[in-house]
Symmetry: C2
Subunit: 269 residues, 2 copies
């Protein structure tokens, strides 16, 4: 499976630096975050930059955070769709958001995800962008994503065509799920992105930053990767690692490690 570098893995690099490192190390894909794209002069400028390095934009991170279903959230998601289209990627990753402030109504928050998709799909689809629902680990259910499993993401995707709403398989978020392999099979045609990083214990104080390089933790990548492949996914595998000590490392060093681990655990570049 070909390798893509998610820019969150090299947080202190600019888009130009990340792209240059990719080219230097034989990485053919890149998954930028919106803030990095903005700093690079916006989506059109970013695309020219990335085209110059021959990089495929595998996804844009991220839209979502629309469980409150506010007009602002929906408008921001339409902008994210436009940016994805301008970047030349068909996949906009969505982290759906947690409980509304002060609310304990999980079913209502989840219903708002379905409503937001209904609102956004026609617009995204018109621009050739697929909305890619990313289930987050259940430990983020209260504050970041009320969609916690691949099965739940697929239930939300089901009313829409496979080119309209997809799902993200991120090993960190789904590796524990007893239903994982069945749901990956079910996801055939809807896998927007396959993201990897490892589950390391103990988690640090900030749970968001507890992810490890592939191979440093407890996840068995081979069977998950094979299941994603068997489901017909032919895209890149995107390495997305949130980890303060990796962020503090020289990005060139990090990219080298990412490539080494990819070759060991995931196959050729």
């Amino acid at each position: 499976m070909r390798l893509s570098l998610n820019t969150a893995t090299v947080k202190k690099a600019t888009l130009a630096q990340a792209a240059s490192l990719c080219a230097e190390h034989g990485i053919t894909g890149i998954g930028p975050w919106r803030d990095v794209v903005e700093t690079a002069g916006g989506a059109k400028a970013a695309r020219r930059l990335l085209d110059g390095y021959g990089l495929t934009v595998t996804s844009l991170c991220r839209g979502g955070f629309f469980t409150t279903f506010t007009a602002e959230a929906l408008a921001d998601n339409r902008r994210a769709v436009e940016e994805a289209a301008d970047l030349g990627t068909s996949e906009l990753v969505l982290v759906v958001g947690g409980l509304a402030p002060g609310s304990k109504d999980l079913p209502a928050a989840r219903a708002n995800v379905a409503r937001a998709l209904e609102q956004l799909v026609p617009y995204a689809s018109g621009l050739g962008v697929r909305l890619a629902i990313e289930p987050l680990h259940p430990m983020f259910c209260a504050d970041r994503a009320v969609v916690s499993t691949l099965g739940q993401a697929l239930d939300l995707a089901e009313p829409f065509a496979p080119h309209e709403v997809g799902v993200v398989v991120d090993t960190y978020h789904v590796w524990w799920d007893p239903e994982l392999f069945g749901q990956i099979t079910r996801a055939a045609g809807r896998i927007s992105a396959y993201q990897v990083c490892d589950w390391v214990v103990p988690l640090p104080a900030d749970m968001l930053l507890g992810r490890g390089h592939v191979g440093d933790g407890h996840i068995d990548f081979a069977p998950i990767t094979e299941a994603v492949r068997q489901a017909g996914y032919t895209g890149h595998v995107e390495v997305e690692i949130f980890n303060q000590s990796i962020w503090d490392t020289d990005p060139a060093e990090t990219v080298k490690t990412v490539v080494d681990r990819h070759l060991t655990h995931l196959g050729p570049l």
Copy 2:
């Protein structure tokens, strides 16, 4: 639903102190941990003590940690079964254990849970003790419990009679689960214990200790409690909170808070 105090909530109290506080505050059930029972002179002495206060022992915490399937682990679980029987409770809570040291083989660890149940059920059943599988939050999958959902616990329970293998519903571990209500319905006849505490964000550095008093966090208790009741559960609700700052509080104060929150969120004592 009647209230039971799990001794982990008042970690610095002895069993006698905890029992006395229960009696004083109108709490009719208690769920002791094995270490507390041992310190109280063993299960038979503990039972005399608790009988003296008129307390029902709602469960014993805990057996399990048998994903390595060692002879020692199985022997220790047989001792836990004997202690449950001596305490006069039919419910032995099992935290099944994480991945074996150095292993990434989650299916193998899960298969060992099924094998361990097969080994233990005849012995437990002979002593009138039900093995109560507790699914733990997926964030504990690597290191504490490879059983992460109520559905998965019920799949493991299914080969056995409802009086032989049950499940624990602990709000902290299962509140996020999109399948929760369906699985509680499915659990009818097998609910060994209903435990409560709240999900508070941000979690502290030690994830084990991040639980809050009922009402302090994001969990909506009423619908879960109602579902447990609808599933035919007639036992106590056991308050089990792991939280350093609660542990540092005077146990009498903690018990008072537990009672107040119970009356507000869960009903009469």
